[in-house]
Structures are given as structure tokens and as C-alpha cells.
């Protein structure tokens, strides 16, 4: 039994978790959902006391000028052991034995200097589990023999996931904490992993920490919604998903609606329940014309390796092409070619038949990239960013009116309004480094619009953003595309985003276009 009551966690004076209470019996799965930054991972780490800190009384919570460090109060008991006050030795006893942790399957999740077999040996060697052999473990968790003596850097995400599961489950812990266990897996491995977690769920208590609501819905018996460090809602999974009480939960579920996966799961025939989708529902596009962006037989190589191998496609004016594919398939290279950051080695890119699209003098293109903060100088203020774009644009067109100070200020405000950013002087003078990811990405979009581009290239525009910002940016983009009938190419590994925005989707594998899906 895991019992948590009134658990608070502070970093110095900053509140991370506040009055968390829940309990978990064996055989149950509790999902803790919420956005990144909501304190979910801190909770997982605290249950295993993975950071150092000091217990404090409830009254001391508001105490200024504390030395930096973690402070906690309340109680958390795992089968009677008081986690918050236990000695380090006691904690080490329960780690792995009683409570296991499966974290995100990043390649850095395993020690880069130990082989897979050494990892397994390591947990078997501490005495209590001599009856199992390494081979048995490999067998049971489906780790192929050729991986045994490999170092983790050679493993794929799915394989790392299996090794992590094997390591966590080998000692058959009574409780298992799953911290975004499927976040970096491709769909097939994700499915395998989910089945693994659900098959053993009756034998142990599981805490699932995720922002993926579909996953929570499938695995969890109960759901707790964590928002800014507090549990704002808790209850049976079905109840929460059908009639959320809190608006925040509602909005989380709504964001999830944009996932086709969720739609399928929910069998939501009435798409009208989703206001976001309705708002951005586009009118049918005009018939394909001979106008637009032509990519014709583009090859590109670094050294002897072909990054792009005969890519040809047409993006009709006013439509949106989604280019999807795994990382390393040449997407980013193509994006850089499209906006002229790199010269085309072989093949051609045209705008409107005959105008070389990659030369900035003839065609205007704009790039919105993955990391908005890297796309802007961090010592610039918000208005500096837009003013620079407008001034440079004005200089290029030799139009005097657009370099005039007053009209530029007006223009800046208009652009900000277009992307839904505030226009107060306070915000205008803010440094870009101080913007949140979502705000910064909006600003980059505004900067792209400032130059009135013929077409817009979006390179993973949402992958560095958290859930809410992601859905906001997606609907902003959808809105802009439909209202301004912008020609857009979106490069992404996020199928949902591509489906949401694009009219046709081109899948690239190993630098080759594989298949086209129309919507």
C-alpha cells in the first residue's frame, strides 16, 4: 500500500508540490496526468527519494531566505515505511526491491560504459536473487541474444525500453512507477510496451506518470490530475474522461481530441464537440493549379552519403504539405534547402514555374524551426525582432514608407495581434530569452509573416513545446493557413500534427519519398 498524504515539496521558496494525497493498493494502476512542469516527475522521484532534501514542519512552509535545496513535509508511506524520514540505508533497501522505476527510454537511460549483460548482472549480484540467471532474464523480457554484449548506444528505443523493464521487474517489485514510459517509442514498440505494463498490472501497484491521456485511459483504473503542483481532480478513469469537473482537465482532454488516436478511441462520431477543430475547419481547397512550390528531383549528399535521394513533389498555392518521417531521414536538410540556407546540389526548387525559389532575391520564403529561442538573438527584445525583420525587408524592397519609424511600430503591433501575442509596451520590451516556448514560437511565426513570404516552411514547429503550447501553436498555424491561404510545408515526425495541418502528407524514408496520403 502506498499512502501519500498532504505531501508538499519546495525548492527553497518555490512550491513544486502542494498537499498531494492519494493511496494505491496492490493490483491498482493510478495515472497522474498533467502538463510538463506540473510536478509529475518530481513526485515520482520523491517517492524513491532520488533527491536530497530536508523534512520540515507544515508551519515552516512559508519561510523566506532558506538555503537552496529541497524541503518536504507531509507523509509518504510505502508498506508502512516513512519515505520522507527514512535513513538512506532503508531507502536503498526498498529501491528496486519493493518499488521499481521505469523511465523514459532515452539512450542515456543506461550507463554508456556497461554492456547490457553487465547491467543485468549488476542487479542480480546483490545477493537476494541468486536463483535467477542472466540468461533467464534475457529470455523472459525478450531481449535478443545479439544485444547482450552491446553497449547502450547501439540500442534502439524499443530495445532500451525492454532492458529498462527487465531491470525494473527482475526483482519483482510490489510497486512500479512508470515515468513517461512510452514517450520516446515508435507506435509498434509503444504497443508492445503498453501490453507489457497492462499484463502485470494485477500483481502489483502501478503509478503511471504521463502527459499522454490515451495511455492513461488504457492503463489506469484511477486518474489524478496534477496542475501546478496540486491534485485538482481525482477519480475513476472513465468518470474523469467523460465528465471532467475542472476546466483544466477538460482542456487537457480537449487537446487530446486533436489526436486522431483519441478520436478513434473515443469513437467520437460527433466531431462538433471539439471547438478547436470546428474553429479551424477549413473550406475545401481550390483545385490543384500549376502555381505553387515545385520540388523537382532533388538530390543532396554529405560526403558519399545521400541524405536526399530524388525527392520530387508539388505544393499547390494555398495548400499545406506535410513531410513526415523518422529523425535522420533528411527532413531538416530539405527544409534548409527550401529556404535557401544551403545551396541545392542537384535538382531544382521552383516557385510558380520558373522562379528559382532558393534565391532570396526572387522568392520570399520563411522558416519556422524547432527551437524558437535559437532562432532569435537572445539579447533582442520582442520589438527588436520584428523591427529588424521589417527594416531589412523594407531595405530590400527599397520602399521608404516601410522604414519609417511610426509605420514600423504600427506594423509590429499588427503582427503581434495576428499571432495572438500581447501588444503592451511591457511585452514589447521583453527580452526573447524571457519568453516561454509557446510565446517565442509565436514570435518567430510573426517574424516569418513580416516578410510576406510566398511560402512558409515549418521544421518541427511544435516538438520542443509542451502540450498546451503545442495545441495552441497548431491551431494558430491552421488558422493562418486557412485565412491567409499561405502555402506551407511542414516537416515533422509528429503524425498527429501533420494530419491536423496538412492537405497531403508525404512520407520520407532514408531520403526517399515513400508514399503520399491525401486528406
Amino acid at each position: 500500500m502506498i499512502e501519500v498524504s498532504n505531501l508538499c515539496l519546495h525548492f527553497s521558496n518555490q512550491r513544486i508540490l502542494h498537499n498531494i494525497s492519494f493511496s494505491l493498493k496492490k493490483g491498482e494502476t493510478l495515472a497522474i496526468i498533467g502538463e510538463s512542469g506540473g510536478g509529475k516527475t518530481s513526485l515520482a522521484r520523491l517517492l524513491l527519494r532520488l533527491f536530497d532534501g530536508k523534512p520540515i514542519g507544515v508551519k515552516e512552509q512559508v519561510f523566506s531566505n532558506r538555503p537552496k535545496g529541497f524541503y518536504w513535509s507531509g507523509s509518504a508511506r510505502i508498506d508502512g515505511l516513512d519515505i520522507l524520514h527514512a535513513k538512506p540505508g532503508e531507502i536503498r533497501q526498498i529501491r528496486g526491491q519493493k518499488v521499481g522505476l521505469i523511465a523514459q527510454a532515452l539512450s542515456d537511460a543506461l550507463n554508456p560504459h556497461l554492456t547490457i549483460a553487465q547491467h543485468i548482472e549488476e542487479i542480480l549480484n546483490d545477493g537476494s536473487f541468486e536463483d535467477q540467471t542472466v540468461e533467464e532474464i534475457f529470455c523472459r523480457y525478450n531481449i535478443p541474444a545479439q544485444l547482450h554484449d552491446q553497449y547502450p548506444s547501439r540500442l534502439s528505443g524499443g530495445e532500451i525500453q525492454r532492458v529498462l523493464s527487465a531491470l525494473a521487474l527482475a526483482k519483482q517489485p510490489d510497486y512500479l512507477i512508470l515515468d513517461e514510459p512510452t514517450a520516446s517509442l515508435d507506435p509498434e514498440n509503444r504497443e508492445i510496451a503498453i501490453q507489457g505494463f497492462s499484463s502485470g498490472s494485477r500483481r502489483r501497484g502501478q503509478i503511471l506518470i504521463t502527459h499522454d491521456l490515451a495511455l492513461a485511459q488504457r492503463l489506469a483504473d484511477r486518474v489524478a490530475v496534477l496542475y501546478k503542483g496540486e491534485v485538482i481532480e481525482e477519480g475513476d478513469t472513465e468518470k474523469i474522461f467523460q465528465c471532467p469537473k475542472k476546466t483544466y482537465t477538460g482542456s487537457l482532454i480537449q487537446v487530446c481530441h486533436q489526436h486522431p488516436r483519441c478520436k478513434a478511441d473515443e469513437n467520437a462520431a460527433n466531431g462538433s464537440t471539439c471547438p478547436v477543430c470546428k474553429k479551424t475547419a477549413r473550406t475545401t481547397r481550390s483545385e490543384p493549379t500549376r502555381q505553387g512550390l515545385f520540388i523537382s528531383h532533388v538530390f543532396h549528399r554529405y560526403g558519399s552519403h545521400f541524405v536526399l535521394n530524388d525527392v520530387s513533389t508539388l505544393v499547390p498555392k494555398g495548400s499545406c504539405l506535410g513531410l513526415v518521417g523518422p529523425s535522420g531521414c533528411g527532413k531538416s536538410t530539405l527544409a534548409r534547402l527550401l529556404v535557401g540556407l544551403e545551396p541545392v546540389q542537384q535538382g531544382a526548387i521552383f516557385w510558380d514555374e520558373g522562379r528559382d525559389a532558393t534565391s532570396p532575391a526572387r522568392t520570399r520564403s520563411a522558416l519556422v524551426s524547432q527551437h524558437p529561442h535559437r532562432a532569435m538573438a537572445h539579447h533582442f527584445s520582442v520589438s527588436d525582432v520584428l523591427q529588424e525583420a521589417l527594416k531589412l525587408e523594407g531595405k530590400r524592397n527599397k520602399k521608404a514608407d516601410r522604414t519609417d519609424h511610426h509605420s514600423i511600430a504600427n506594423h509590429v503591433r499588427k503582427l503581434l495581434q495576428q499571432v495572438g501575442l500581447p501588444q503592451e509596451p511591457d511585452f514589447l520590451s521583453r527580452k526573447t530569452a524571457a519568453l516561454s516556448g509557446g510565446e517565442a514560437q509565436r514570435l518567430v511565426i510573426a517574424r516569418a509573416l513580416a516578410t510576406r513570404p510566398s511560402y512558409l516552411v515549418l521544421d518541427e514547429p511544435t516538438s520542443a513545446l509542451d502540450m498546451c503550447a503545442r495545441s495552441q501553436i497548431l491551431s494558430l498555424l491552421a488558422d493562418l493557413i486557412s485565412r491567409q491561404s499561405l502555402t506551407t510545408v511542414i516537416f515533422t515526425h509528429d503524425h498527429d500534427a501533420a494530419h491536423f495541418l496538412a492537405d497531403q502528407i508525404l512520407t520520407i524514408v532514408n531520403g526517399r519519398p515513400e508514399r503520399v496520403t491525401m486528406r
Binding site: R374, A375, A377, H378, H379, F380, L392, A433
Partner: protein
């Protein structure tokens, strides 16, 4: 209110206050050192601290307090000027390597490699023993033997800024290199360059002291290091205490305060421009 009575800007960070305080103390000491009696030899040799000589005298009767005061501006300004010269040199080479790339970059990096393998103290020793450098000579000598330390770092820094998207964007929009350098690149690298500069000051101060301690600088040039050298012959007697400790303490305090300023600078520049 602040102790100086000058109207300081209101919301100074702790780092700015520390640096200001440090600057103030240094300026005060330098001013005082100008008005104190000259650093003359006297008849009272190896006197322990007394009312006449607050920090005692050395073996030729020079007052240690006066010596320490006089040595402060010398040592500190040599350290600062040296690191300034060295950082300017390494910025020039680092930026050249980053911009030119290819052959030039390789040549510069190779040069740095070559210079790095030799303990600079050997060259320093040889040159200093020959010329017994004075104030400017010491600066030049030290700068020429330390410039290579940061070239690699600066090259990486410039390279990163040059290939950042904001610069690429501005270039594609038709901005000149001059515009990019002054508006985008230099402001972005400035905090890091300042950080390196402050660290170089520490190193330079240590080296000046070392040269002085070995008696390799101009005998006329009083530095903390040359004062400490006086102690070397009197380790058996209690005289080492007043000969070694005052200049040694000054040097250590200087190194520590530069360390704190550098550390504050890092925190300060971190708060200013976060790289997500």
C-alpha cells in the same frame, strides 16, 4: 542609501554591488599608495610590527605596509592589462579561425596546439631572466605567453553564434556582415568573453606574483610577489610572518574576490540570456 553617498541606480544585483565595492577598495588603496611616504630603505631592518612600522620592516629596512600598498596598484593593473591584451589577441585569432575556416582555421588551431604543449614558465623564465621586465615588459611578456589559452573556446563560441539561426536569417534578409557582427554576434558573445577575461585576470595575477617571487621582474617594480620573495631568506626566524603574510593575504584576497566577481558574472549573464 549607500555608503558612498553617490546616487547609485536602485535595483543593483548583488553581483554589481560586489564588483563596485571591489573597485572602490582598489581605487582607494591606489590613491592611498600615492600619498604614503616612499618605499625607502631604512636602518631598522627586520623590525617586527610596531607603531612606527605597522607591518614591520624587511631586511633592508623597508616598511612592509608601504610596500604592500605600493604593490597593489602595480600587481592589479599588470594582471588586468595582461588579461585584457591576451583576451583581445585570442578574440582576434578565435574570430578569424571561426570566420575563415578551412586552412586558416587549421593553421591557427595547430599553432595553439603547438604552444600548448610547452610549459610557458620555461619561456617566461628565460625571457625574464634576460630582460628583467619592467611594468610594460611584464604585461607584454605575460600576455604573449597566455593568449593561446582561450582561442579554442572563443572559436567555438564564434562558430556557434555565426551559425545561429538569427544570423542566418538576417544574412538571408540581406543584412551586411558588419550589421550582423555588431547587432547579433558581439552582444551575444560579450558575457562569455567577460567571463573569460575575469578568469584570465586570476591566472595573470598568479603569474605576476610568481615572476616577482622568483625575482625575475625589474627590481624597481614592487609587486606582491617580489615582497614575498623577501620572506624566503627568513623562514627560520619569525620574520616570515610579517614579510610573507601581508602580501600573500592581499594576493589571496584579490584572487578570491576576482573569483566571486567571475562567478557573479556567470549567474548574471545566465539570468540575462537563457539558452533553452
Amino acid at each position: 542609501m549607500n555608503i558612498t553617498g553617490f546616487p547609485l541606480p536602485r535595483n543593483l544585483t548583488r553581483w554589481q554591488k560586489q564588483s563596485l565595492l571591489f573597485l572602490l577598495v582598489f581605487v582607494l588603496i591606489s590613491l592611498v599608495s600615492m600619498v604614503v611616504p616612499s618605499y625607502d630603505t631604512g636602518l631598522d631592518s627586520l623590525e617586527p610590527p610596531s607603531l612606527a612600522h605597522w607591518l614591520g620592516t624587511n631586511d633592508i629596512g623597508q616598511d612592509v605596509l608601504i610596500g604592500t600598498l605600493k604593490a597593489t596598484p602595480n600587481t592589479v593593473s599588470i594582471a588586468i592589462a595582461t588579461s585584457f591584451l591576451a583576451i583581445v589577441l585570442s578574440i582576434m585569432l578565435g574570430a578569424t579561425a571561426a570566420i575563415a575556416g578551412g586552412f586558416v582555421s587549421n593553421a591557427i588551431l595547430r599553432l595553439v596546439d603547438i604552444i600548448q604543449v610547452i610549459p610557458s614558465i620555461l619561456i617566461l623564465l628565460f625571457l625574464a631572466a634576460l630582460v628583467h621586465p619592467s611594468f610594460w615588459g611584464t604585461i607584454l611578456l605575460l600576455a604573449l605567453t597566455t593568449w593561446h589559452d582561450e582561442v579554442r573556446v572563443l572559436r567555438a563560441l564564434f562558430l556557434r553564434e555565426l551559425t545561429r539561426e538569427n544570423v542566418l536569417y538576417a544574412r538571408r534578409m540581406g543584412a551586411s556582415w558588419f550589421y550582423c557582427a555588431t547587432r547579433h554576434i558581439l552582444p551575444a558573445v560579450l558575457p562569455s568573453v567577460l567571463g573569460l577575461f575575469v578568469q584570465q585576470i586570476r591566472q595573470a595575477a598568479m603569474k605576476v606574483a610568481g615572476l616577482g617571487f622568483l625575482g625575475l621582474t625589474d627590481p624597481q617594480l614592487v609587486t606582491w610577489g617580489s615582497l614575498m620573495q623577501d620572506a624566503l631568506d627568513h623562514l627560520q626566524s619569525p620574520a616570515w610572518m610579517w614579510l610573507l603574510v601581508p602580501p600573500g593575504l592581499c594576493l589571496s584576497l584579490f584572487l578570491l574576490s576576482v573569483l566571486f566577481i567571475g562567478r557573479g558574472l556567470e549567474v548574471y549573464s545566465m539570468a540575462d540570456g537563457k539558452e533553452p
